[in-house]
Amino acid sequence: MPILEASGIRKQFGGVVALAGADFSLDAGAVHALIGSNGCGKSTLCKIIAGSVAADAGTIRLDGNPVSFSDPQEAAAAGIGVFYQELSLVRPMTVAENIYLGREPRMRTGLLDRDALRSQAENALEQFRSVIGTGVHPDARVADLSADQSQLIEILKVLAANPRIIILDEATAALDRNQVDAVFHRIRALKADGCAIIFITHRMDEVFEIADRVTVMRNGLTVLSQPIGQTSHDEIVAAMVGDVMPPARRERKHVPAQETALEVEQLSAAKLAGVSFKARRGEILGLGGLHGQGQSALLRALFGALPLKAGSIQVDGKRLAPKGPRTVMRRSIAYVSGDRARHGVMAIRPIFENLVISLLSRERRVVVQTERLERETRPFIERLKLKFSSLQATVAELSGGNQQKVVLARWLATHPSVLLLDDPTKGIDIQTKEDLYSTMDELCSQGVCILLHSSDDEELLGISDRVLVFNGGRIVAELTGEQRNRQALYEAAYATAPAAA
């Protein structure tokens, strides 16, 4: 009998279906790899098992008994331990305080036993002593640790609760090979003790190295579940990709020119390790790969929103030093984020103010000339088919798609020569997407160079002229012509990441 069994799990966030009846079963003393592309529902499934998200439908059985956890505390009490991808560490607190948060050793008086806390943490750290690097001791603050060290501390924190079901959601993402070996060593010991482990990773070689069984998810459904010995790398990739149909190529008017619009050499920043490429006028250059491999970081670095460590950028043959969005804007570069709420709209302000903010901050005038600004933005509102009651209505009244059009129109009004699109169609409806695609096509025919990052692989492959595939902060492949298909994209995206930067 499986120790944990989830069946028919459904979950919807707003209008987006995250899980459409997923099934999953976990045996004691086994490592079960759970894989799938961005947004396939695996993280949501884990959060439901861990009690931090409630399912809309479906049952979870623990040791054969139906359970439903209303918060992480209940799941933890039932012996479920979770390594959270975004980490659950309190950065200003120490390593020892973090590992034993909520289960600190106490003296007979009920007060904390700080000596015991320190020595227990010392013992826990011993497991990773040879790979964790310098500066990690029980009294070190987590804020002073590097990303890989923090991940190892999060692992120790999960294990400190002695869980019998362990969910590791990309627990090895920031680790180097030696650190992964040390973690696997520990996982094998846990397995021998009868623990059940759900192992989520994007590294295919790790799946074959550690897993006993593999389950592949796609579009909120489990599409493959096999003992590791009865499947293959190709079968798994095929299951992730689904129907190996070439993505629909859109009709397009634009033809990329030969002139280089943007040239980037050896660009390094947080999450970027020496990225070089050229983008041409009138070209849509796609940036693909798994989530968070440097695509978004590149766009924000180019726009001056992320500090550079090294590298050079040339726009139209002239050097660009991105000191901040203000300086970059003046070189006719525009950036549109898909994260509208955080980086895009000022929701409670009128549409008009949202539209002209880019013009205002570029032209440094003291007095706002309302009529002229309206004249300048009007054509873009019309081109994007923005639907609104009045320019004085607040942006919050618009649908997500129309909000995104406002943000795009804001930037188009500055007549950019390079347009940076950071997942611009996230969470918007199909009709709006079509409007955006045709606008992009039109802009390219006019010689604009577009850098497009999209988490929707279909869209990325369908509208880009070329696709650069990112993995671990580097460009690992360039897909052109017929190579622009899912198979090639996944092969490059799921390959072992080059040594962590």
């Binding site: 200003p92 948060l101 007060l111």
Partner: protein, 320 residues
């Protein structure tokens, strides 16, 4: 030197407050030669005690990354309720006991109201406690519309007197420090700091974040009540406006003491020092015989300077 300072800044966020405190003590001793005499020191402690108590309670709320802008109003409510009960019951020993007990109960109830609104109903802490503060202050005015009433001499003589040769006010301060020392060694305190440092992480780790925040507000209510009682002992009467200035003074003391308004970092020791710093600044200005017009200016500048020192050290902390 610089690196040791930074290191200390990280381990002991209240170090800057200690330095400023000592400097102010020296300046005060120069301006007022009797400063170091036991009697004068005791009267200073008595004068600073209410603010120190409110600051202790405020520290717990701030560590959870919340704030209590009603603390001063709770002081007023407790002050007038206690005086009214004691007078109303005839000023007997039993009435004093009832007044003390009910005073503390009122403080806890006020704290519970704040905590329930902020932690369970998820109201915004600044606005919520600002609003409940107005309600509490209004209640205090309703109980006692203007300063007055009397407590029996036993009360204020005991407060001004000594127990086992040690002044009562010192006992109260020591008891408060001991209490804070115990709290700092509980699981609750770790949960409190974790909640202030990263509430999402704390929740995912199974920390009962709502209960933790509620308890912080209860502690703030408790210490505000103690401050209200201390003021009864100090003034021997009730005043519905007595606590008003203590709210922002307590927040200032907490920040001067090195506790981060963003939560997690800091502690009670710094806040007590911060409260004493604020008190000493007033002393120094008084004994320096500055013209009245200069007092506010100098007071503000000294507070800014002390804060600047803390900021410089916090920068060092982040760079290491």
């Amino acid at each position: 030197m610089k690196s040791t300072l930074r290191l200390s800044g990280h381990r002991h966020p209240y170090l800057m407050a200690a330095v400023v405190f000592l400097v102010l003590c020296v300046v005060n001793a120069i301006l007022q030669p009797s400063f170091l005499k036991f009697g004068v020191a005791t009267s200073n402690v008595a004068a600073f005690l209410p603010m120190a108590l409110v600051a202790i309670g405020q520290t717990y709320v701030v560590l959870a990354s919340d704030i209590d802008l009603s603390a001063g109003a709770i002081v007023s409510v407790v002050n007038v309720v206690v005086v009214s009960i004691i007078e109303g019951m005839g000023g007997t020993g039993a009435s004093i006991a009832a007044g003390l007990t009910l005073g503390i109960a009122v403080g806890l109830i006020c704290g519970a109201v704040n905590g329930l609104c902020v932690a369970y109903l998820r109201f915004q802490p600044i606005v919520t406690t600002f609003a409940t503060g107005i309600v509490f202050a209004g209640f205090a005015l309703w109980v006692l519309p203007e300063a007055g009433r009397q407590v029996p001499p036993e009360f204020y003589l005991a407060y001004a007197g000594t127990v086992l040769g040690v002044p009562t006010v010192l006992w109260i301060l020591l008891a408060a420090i001991a209490f804070a020392g115990v709290i700092a060694r509980t699981r609750f305190y770790q949960a409190l700091r974790a909640t202030g440092g990263n509430i999402q992480a704390a929740y995912q780790t199974g920390v009962p974040v709502a209960r933790v925040r509620l308890r912080a507000y209860l502690l703030s209510g408790l210490f505000a009540a103690l401050a209200g009682l201390a003021l009864v002992g100090e003034t021997a009467s009730g005043d519905p406006l007595i606590g008003g200035a203590l709210t922002l003074a307590s927040v200032t003391a907490v920040v001067l003491g090195g506790t981060a308004l963003s939560g997690c970092i800091g502690g009670v020791a710094g806040s007590i020092l911060g409260a004493f710093i604020l008190g000493l600044i007033n002393n120094v200005i008084f004994f320096a015989q500055l013209p009245f017009a200069w007092q506010g200016l100098i007071q503000g500048l000294i507070i800014l300077a002390a804060l600047a020192g803390g900021v410089v050290m916090a920068r060092g902390r982040q760079e290491t």
